[in-house]
Symmetry: C2
Subunit: 280 residues, 2 copies
């Protein structure tokens, strides 16, 4: 079996004026369920530690529980226990358990030169949604990607069978694929131009004057999946965005972004110390 734990804190990972209790429940469950799925396991159970102020409304907590249960139901998992304590800020600590069903866990260390790099979903959508909320544009459709990320569990489960390494993207592609690159001792090259793009992401970028590629590379909380695969992978919802290469003599393992389409970032961009967030 595998286990994963993630802590969400009010004011840092969510704001009660931007997200409902239901949204926070969906997101807290998704963050943990995605971790378990990324290890190639079937999520079975969630334990939830909730610390919150006494004046928090019961309906908010009930909505949180509903959100946790709804996200679990997508994977036939359930909340099996927990703990509730008083605290000055809402803190949701979730631990997810998963069953490997006899298989070895899928780790970050299996990427080999020659593998393709694939992603599910739309990396950067959650970061774009957060940027919109921070800019007061809560009317934009992309904010739902921050409030309630929708990891493509089915695609990840399909990928898991043939992947050499997999990770859920909670800190942005550069940071998270950086974990894979260092654990595997390889160089990972991403083509920014191959990152999935949607009209909503494009519109949010233009609205805020931000290149959405930056959200995809450095933004967190999508909880989509990135994987390295030895063979091409068909199927909807999966995009090939790069390749695994041998480490060039004199360089360290890491992620390199090739970006011919963004003038300000021509040629190579190296991220020897990718921006990382606590809370990943």
């Amino acid at each position: 079996m595998v286990a994963s734990t993630d802590v969400l804190v009010e004011g840092r990972h969510f704001r009660t004026d931007w997200s409902s209790g239901y949204d926070v429940g969906r997101k807290a469950a998704a963050a943990n369920l995605a971790d378990v799925v990324a290890m190639g396991a079937r999520p079975t159970a969630l334990l939830v530690g909730l610390a919150c102020p006494g004046e928090l409304s019961v309906s908010w907590v009930e909505a949180l529980a509903d959100g946790l249960a709804a996200e679990c139901a997508l994977l036939h998992a359930s909340v099996v226990g927990g703990d509730v304590v008083a605290a000055p800020v809402i803190t949701v600590a979730v631990t997810a358990l998963g069953d490997l069903q006899g298989r070895a866990p899928l780790t970050r260390s299996g990427a080999s030169p020659g593998d393709r790099v694939i992603v599910t979903g739309v990396p950067g959508a959650a970061a774009g949604g957060l940027a919109l909320l921070e800019a007061g544009r809560s009317d934009h459709p992309l904010v739902s990607a921050h409030r309630r990320p929708t990891p493509d569990y089915a695609a990840a489960q399909r990928i898991a069978d043939g992947a050499s390494a997999m990770i859920d993207v909670s800190d942005g592609l550069v940071a998270d694929l950086g974990h894979v690159a260092r654990a595997s001792g390889v160089r990972i090259e991403i083509a920014a131009a191959r990152l999935p793009m949607t009209p909503e992401l494009d519109s949010a970028g233009r609205l805020l004057g931000v290149d959405p590629v930056v959200w995809a590379l450095t933004g967190g909380d999508d909880h989509g999946f990135a994987a390295t695969v030895p063979r091409p992978l068909d199927g909807s919802g999966v995009a090939t965005i790069g390749a695994v290469l041998e480490v060039v003599p004199g360089e360290s393992p890491g992620v390199v972004v090739i970006d011919a389409d963004v003038p300000a970032r021509t040629g190579h961009e190296h991220f020897p110390s990718p921006p990382s967030r606590s809370g990943s």
Copy 2:
């Protein structure tokens, strides 16, 4: 396997001026390990979610990690993962996993009329220690029982083999045995005079003008063990404090304290609604 989660919050479960990081680590691990042991399982792994202010010293966090590891080492378990996030107050969310090694879990619902009620350790010691700290008597030896409870895991593992029900005492005997009584549909009678007493507990009670029996019956955080056993149980560190009876017609399952030795509480004392704390 079994899993248990507990959340400790600064200001509620500990104060940094009363407990070191090491103390909090020991206590956070003990609270969860005891839950797992009380289910008859062998603790294997801890996951730790830590939310804390950025200005918290690194040495405090390192001491916390040392305390968690030291308590785990008592049971050959270890911390296998976690998450660290920023938050205004220190919050330690621990999940413990345990291996039942093929046996059925020991639950709260197996107590039968005729069973004896036994406890390990000294119920009320942690509550007495906390009362001393609140009264400014940090020099008293009993305060260590609050700072760093010492569940008798070995005794609990010995008891588990022959117990019909077991629970770790985190909310006081009345509340915790109340869970057993209601889950088992029985009446549990405790003789207050049979509760373990130590010179430290006695001295703390006299110092503060409190009957230590009150701490044992209603105080939390000892993380010792209470169990019901069909046969007498020998061995050190275990005290028989009561018996399991059939529910009297017209009464609900619950805990009754018989206390011939405390004049203010002669005869029977009923706790139809035992005081309970969130966070158990």
